[in-house]
Amino acid sequence: MSEHRHRTRLLPLTAAMLMLGVIGRAILALPTTGDGLAVPMRAGAEASGIPNVITAVLLDFRGYDTLLEIAVLMLATVAVLSLREDPAALSRRIAGGAGPVLGTLTRALAPIMLLVAGHLVLVGSSGPGGAFQGGAVLGAAGILLMLSGYARPAWASRRAVRWVLAVGLIVFIGVALYPLLSGGTLLQYPPENRKDLILLVEALLTLSIGASLVSLFLASASSTEGGGRR
């Protein structure tokens, strides 16, 4: 047994050491300065009027990556939904509800989380934040609600929830395709309503991302009652 163990560990260990050596050599060979695309990106962001370069990169220059990233998230949600064992179990899953203490916390925190999520989306254009961060906070609020017993039965097999999950992506594609009508390319927001469009997309994305994260948790959550009794 131990000999077998030994053999199975030798290969991974060698692989890891090899990787370390290879990466180390590559990194040490680099010069200590290197601008990459920082300079043109900053100039471009300034020109396009989005103060936060990263948001400019994410939604404007490399918006296509972000479109596919949102697709990844929705795909993962669908994937996890497809893996759940028994759709009927969803309705009996979150039974019991929260005790008074947890319930109170949830009631107090959830609205604040909603506000913070909104705030994070709004500040995204000028500082740290954005749809994903906002969506994550929103999703956390949702998960907290679920854990505290506020789950609606059969979440995610309902049509409405499906719409919420998909609306971000659908609207994003719509906005991405919209410039094609006026001779632009995919995702080439028209300058006159670029900000509004981005905000619209971000807002709906936040909603969808939040719903996705809740679904990821909920759909993957065990179908039997956990150890929790409160």
Binding site: L102, L105, L109, I112, M113, V116, H119, L120, V123, G127, P128, G129, Q133, V137, A140, I143, L144, L147, S148, A221, S222, G226, G227, G228, R230
Partner: protein
Amino acid sequence: MTLALQALAVTILLSVAIGIYRIERGPTGTDRMLSAMLFGTSGVALTLVLAELTRLGGLRDMGLTFALLGALTSVAFVKRAWGADD
């Protein structure tokens, strides 16, 4: 002032390092979870201190996020994974 803030940051980090010892020791999952909760608080502090140090106001939002989400892990633990390590 920068130095004080830096010292505080290092101190908080050290305190967490001490906390990690509890994760190593256990003995129960609950004890390990306590360290994670500890870091919920320390993380907020560390974030806020670093926000001041780097003069990035946006990081206060991060502190707020930490504060809001810190409870989530504990709740998930109690509701979903209680006793998983006993």
